[in-house]
Symmetry: C2
Subunit: 327 residues, 2 copies
Amino acid sequence: MESSGPPAEDILLQRPWLPVSISGCQLLTKSWFGETAYRVLLTDMHCVWEERMDAAAIQSRAQELNRRLRAPVKAFFSHLCDVAQPCLSADRGPPQNEAQISLTRQEDGDILMRLKSELAGLPFYWEFHCTPAPITLACSQLVRPLLAMSRLLQQQVEQLAGLLVRKDAEIQDYRENGATLSRERLQTDAFEEQTYKENFMAKALPLLWTERQDALGFDADLQQLYAAVVHRSARKRKLSEDRCEEEEEEEEEDRPAPALTSPPGAPDRLCPPEPADRDPHPTHVRQEDTSGAKMADRPTVQQHQSRPAASERPSSRPKKKKVGLFG
Amino acid sequence: MESSGPPAEDILLQRPWLPVSISGCQLLTKSWFGETAYRVLLTDMHCVWEERMDAAAIQSRAQELNRRLRAPVKAFFSHLCDVAQPCLSADRGPPQNEAQISLTRQEDGDILMRLKSELAGLPFYWEFHCTPAPITLACSQLVRPLLAMSRLLQQQVEQLAGLLVRKDAEIQDYRENGATLSRERLQTDAFEEQTYKENFMAKALPLLWTERQDALGFDADLQQLYAAVVHRSARKRKLSEDRCEEEEEEEEEDRPAPALTSPPGAPDRLCPPEPADRDPHPTHVRQEDTSGAKMADRPTVQQHQSRPAASERPSSRPKKKKVGLFG
């Protein structure tokens, strides 16, 4: 459990996307469990869902799901971490602990994951209510890393193709000087990049969207590259934040480091234009459908805060025999 | 202009992300202009914005921005296409036509692009009001293609590394049989994949987030690969839709083809679990912050529909001299 240090955003960025299979559904997950808070990300590569919960929200939900629970959040949160984390990182079924997890896709597009475990001899229920994440989160956790990975891999392909051409030149020289192979099967064809790529694509493309893929196609090699790319991104971002404290925190939240070598307002970041000196132009016309706009800056979920914490709340029911955390 | 054929979603998917620079801001855009409708996508890789407009919304906005315009949407829409499309696909400044375009990032995170051109001798104004897109759109237009591209490039790296090892075996055989090079500079070092990758990453990673990138890093080679990948995806999807007409349209909207070789409910698609046979469990507990959930299914924007079309609307102002489309 992390309770201090870098913000959850950076910690999540540096985590791998772990393949999980819950109720027969393949997902990739990232999660962060703090001292009395957590964030969970899920994706099936068609949508990304998340849940952000703080102490008050956790306390409230725990109370609703476990009527007899009379403990403050700290007292049961470590149990929740212990049972939930393996469920969100295991590739095959439930882990060694007794927790059971199931997943339902709600009609409104949300994801509901129900967890049942045992705490102090009584059943302990939990639910993760994951809603579609802001699009900026998909950009920071998937789009930018994947684009960076593609660039790196593209560079490797170019370098390796260049190396092959050099190997061919060496081979050509041996051959022209009369060298022969002791084993004919060692002979290779001259490498021609364009032909290679065309043949590769002709074979690979038909399989691209039809093959069954482990981890939704995010395989081990790509995971490794993702880790390298996001580690670098988070490090750069840290450096950048130390240097540019005046930058808006809101803008930075889901961004990797701005280019350190770029001047302020360099065109790789979206910037407001210079004041318009054009003809008068109506500016009051605003698009009325802004439902999407709210997502980008969605604050940390803080539900049920008006409800008093269980530890402070007088129980209206007669207390049963005290069993650990449950009253 | 496309007026029939595949839906805008597929057409957009198959379009490249075009680099544009508006008001000094680097963006990638995709746009589709139909007969009297359009969709525009923008991204700076930190967010994706979109605007979807139909005939009624276009008519209404044109009316608000151009008070003297008295033409039905069809009469001026082709002009809008003519001037807007080059602005959304040009890499350098305004195109040959006289249109001026500027971009402002709104405080609420939206993007406002203002366009000014000349129609029938009078100024013609337009505005694109782009709001953050549903996260499913980022997944379909960026995440899945980029992941597929990464997989293909990773496969190429592996194949080329394998070819290099074979070249080395051939070279080794020549050398062991006493062959020598006529030019020493042709000699290459034996290729060792792990060492190569480590060296590559040591050099490439420090530059990854600091180098200035054209087209936000989505360079020509990657564009080409993107085109190949999404073309395949759209084709597969078409085939799939023909076969599985009973599938929910809503689910399909932003998806590429489901794996044709997978059984129904195969784990690469998110599916509801079997009915829970677990203990009674409160199901009425719903997370209250569902602001994000609305995005995934945001319908086509249809603002201002109650306002009558300009062609049917009696003008309360005395008519000026008729100049083309303007009354």
